[in-house]
Assembly symmetry: C3
Homo-oligomer: 423 residues x 3
């Protein structure tokens, strides 16, 4: 591990001003436009009725994007009288948007600088808001767990962007991309954490009552089935029948992605198991066979394999959602139809046209994500942004003060410092 980096990252000149600028802009915008909504404001609460929202879980990521997305989403969803009214639901929505941004990060991680990632967030959050508004409000598409709005959008935005940023000499950094024993264990903690919270994640925006129960249950069984099929396929595809940590860490979660759209619908426990099973298979096959082809033939360098965990399972989830929506009947859903498919319940649509709208939503998502990723990629290729050179990719210490690996090294380092001082 080289201890010095000769590459001028420009981080000191660019990152702080950008952060401060963005933060100042957001603070100013907040001061003019953002107010507590009726469930959060002390004086409004006591004058109105409340949905008794059960906010037992907030998933949040420490980035700029959640502040920005509050503004963007707020503009589309809760803008009236010149103000944006925010509450706990705004927070959850902002988190979901940040989820999409993190998925896109997965495709370009290690090859981009913090400044590039910050600019990328700015663009993606904006487009995420546009796409979500078109799907949920204009098209009346259902997508509670975000198979389309979060996973498909995030994955293809990142993949197209990664394509535009293609580096033909990335093999110079190849030795750093792999994992080591301990980093694999760390990643496993993340997997278990995601596994545990995925049912809450998918069910958070659905209706309290049967909706949340059903979504949690479906997600749970789908995750179980995808885990099992991943273990089976991982052993089957290895020459010696060994399990691959990368498959287990990722494909085991594909079951959560694939029921993102249909989780709140009546897909039946059987349907959830089938969906998860398929998602695990597709995702593992993607890691094993499709990912190398994507890089060699299509010049898409997908650092974390987001195409396998979010791209394909997301599209599959969207298609599944369309199928299940097309099969909806008054009999199956009973009085619940008006919360799951309000437009069908009110007679504005029949099940088939809902299915067509769902498919159209997927199409819009793919188009917007690709366009956005393309524009983003061109933007990030601006030379002034100082992306890391080919030989420095996947290297923590370009952007981070990295401590020494072992205590022995630390002692040696201190000893040599002492010698220098004495000389």
């Amino acid at each position: 591990m080289a201890r010095t980096s000769s590459h001028a990252t420009g981080l000191r000149v660019q990152l702080p001003p950008l952060c401060f600028l963005f933060q100042a802009a957001i603070i100013i915008l907040f001061s003019f436009f953002v107010r507590y909504n009726h469930e959060t404001d002390s004086s409004l609460w006591h004058r109105s009725n409340h949905s008794d929202m059960d906010n037992d879980f907030y998933f949040r990521y420490p980035t700029f994007s959640l502040q920005w997305s509050t503004l963007v989403q707020g503009f589309f969803h809760s803008f009236h009288g010149g103000k944006i009214y925010i509450g706990v639901e705004s927070m959850i929505n902002a988190d979901f948007c940040t989820g999409a941004v993190l998925i896109s990060f997965g495709a370009v991680l290690g090859k981009t600088s913090p400044v590039q990632l910050l600019l990328m967030s700015l663009l993606e959050v904006t487009l995420f808001g546009v796409n979500e508004f078109i799907l949920l409000n204009l098209l009346g598409v259902k997508d509670a767990g975000g198979s389309m709005t979060i996973h498909t959008f995030g994955a293809y935005f990142g993949l197209v962007l990664s394509r535009v940023l293609y580096r033909s000499h990335l093999d110079k950094s190849k030795h750093r991309e792999g994992s080591v024993y301990h980093s694999d264990l760390f990643a496993m903690i993340g997997t278990i954490f995601l596994w545990i919270f995925w049912p809450s994640f998918n069910s958070a925006p659905t209706n309290t009552g049967d909706g949340q129960h059903r979504t949690a249950l479906n997600t749970y069984y789908s995750l179980g089935a995808s885990t099992l099929s991943t273990f089976a396929l991982s052993a089957l595809l290895s020459r010696e029948g060994k399990l691959d940590m990368v498959h287990i860490q990722n494909a085991a979660l594909a079951g959560g992605v694939v029921v993102g759209t249909s989780g709140e619908m009546m897909i039946t426990p059987f349907g959830a198991l089938m969906a998860g099973f398929l998602a695990g298979i597709i995702s593992t096959l993607g890691y094993k066979f499709l990912m190398p082809i994507l890089e060699s033939k299509f010049k898409v360098q997908d650092t974390c394999g987001v195409h396998n965990l979010h791209g394909m399972p997301g599209v599959l989830g969207a298609l599944l959602g369309a199928l299940v929506a097309g099969l909806a009947t008054h009999q199956t859903y009973g009085d619940g139809l008006k919360s799951v498919f309000p437009l069908i319940a009110e007679g504005h649509r029949n099940a088939t046209s809902q299915a067509v709208y769902q498919l159209f939503g997927l199409f819009v998502t793919l188009v917007l994500a690709s366009l956005g990723g393309g524009i983003g990629g061109l933007l990030l290729r601006l030379p002034c942004l100082n992306s890391p050179p080919d030989s420095q990719c996947y290297e923590d210490q370009i952007y981070w003060e990295v401590p020494l690996e072992h205590e022995d090294e630390v002692q040696e380092h201190l000893r040599s410092e002492d010698t220098e001082t004495q000389a």
Copy 2:
């Protein structure tokens, strides 16, 4: 660390077909028998009254056993009209069952193959369902946090099974069984996680209201007391007065196990402290003195020491539950008697006979666990199951693709690969 394994694990030939077979069987059984229950079904919800279940926490483990246990438990508990109706409660019950399976895994880990563990789950989940049905439904035993049904059952099932699989030459793998510095820190994260969620775990199946409050509170104080007594005893038992990570990681949790049965009863805060204090003592003594004897004299090789964390504290918890049940009076419980001890409240039993039933429940659990573990052990000794050889136990890389330990090694490995290619 040897990089190649000459042992043919048979994993590639056996694991995938078994996984696929089990998954297919379950999917088919689900399609015929499993339906959403009235709290999860869209059309049923709007026609019925609901218990307002507060499902703030789902603990779940990524295995086959939770699907299978849904079927087994569903068969016993919610089978009517030829269908099994499932909801969030089924999920929690399936998780608890999976907990017992994981406890048993703890006794045989490192000495068994994934295929063996899969078969073991199949058997144990079935017997867990039988045991739970006998205790809770036939005998009217109270065991919310599962001192008997989860901890005692899981521990003795695993221990008897480990006895049947006894390997006299396991010392060949002795150098791999120990922990290293970083793995100890990892394990500590798990301990903290379990500590934090144990009160929720014990109180999840109890009645909303005073029941859940009381169970959480008792578990919390019991955990506190067991942690303190573990620290004290660990320092006392060490020659130099040093604390032992294995004691802290495990015995500190014994307080959660020991109030599994009595947590929802009126054991008083004082009683909870006493119980936890005792459990910490017994568990630490178990690690220090009993575990080596178990191996040398009784030929039980207990990899993770489940006898100390789950076996003994589980039995102690069952006895404590019987004691507290025997002391129940109408005066102490007031109107709450009908939720804690419905059979006493309705006059079908007095407190003493409830205590006797509790003891009988412990006896049934021990018998079923031992029988099941014995049968399971004989099954797992079938030669076609390819258990790992004595010299390869506790070795990740028989069954996993293990990355290299350090970046230096990775670079060296790549360099040698380059040389090979050039040659």
Copy 3:
């Protein structure tokens, strides 16, 4: 890493008796004084009305202090008729107290023995209870998230104590104080965990409804802003523009501390962003510039930098709380005034005098914390307590059985043991 320690720690002689003594004392006190309250007692629940407390999250730490604090706080808050009545709220309060103790630990960690820490808890928990009682009950100060009672109190108690324990030759252990690569990743898991739960932490003791929503929201935006300003400043302050893990791990959380008092008030989303932004700046500057000065000029050796994360942001939070309280009007709060500022709503005070009381609360906290830390430091300097020698600080293995670092070492160790046996 030396494998043997010649320093006699006295741990074996002192820790166990102290633990047992304290535990016995607490058990006896519990048996005489502690009872379930009306929300936890089976017979009382069914005779009374209940606040429907939403206890979705219990943060708890495995120490003696939570049992002791139950007694101390119970004495002040729920002592009537000679008994202390406890419930879930007592648990949360005990946890908060334990939080303050852990903050103080951060200032002296690595330089004190477990026995010293135990005695320190005993004193600090008692004084925490006194301070909290004065502030909340006597002065009518608002401090839901504990900017004053938890963060300011914990930080200055620990810092003054650390000053009294000043060691002029601590540089002998300097090489062990730094972090290594893997320990930094571990610490990052803790940071993410705290980030995620901080909104729940601040909002847990506030009023259900708009109060909890508002506190969670404010905490969330404040955390977001402090994270952003920390990233910006960390890059700006580094010579090469690199980010410093220590800043990210700590200063990113300052936003949670700074809205501890004002989080439940109507500070507006804009105000929360500003507060978090400032807290991140101050905290990062503290790590970079103030911390070395504190050690060299003021002889305060602050192991974890609690002054930067808890001390300064805590004081800033208290001042902010006073400011926002001073601006409170009936118009802004509406009917909610009686839950946020009951004394103003009932006409006993106006907003300005509430602000003065808030400031006085901060003053009392600082005085009590400093006095307590001073007395505690003198107590801990008693020679019989065997604090570790200067050359053995920050060393795990004085008090812990530390396993070997790598498997290779383990094998070598076993081999040399074999040789010894043969010889």
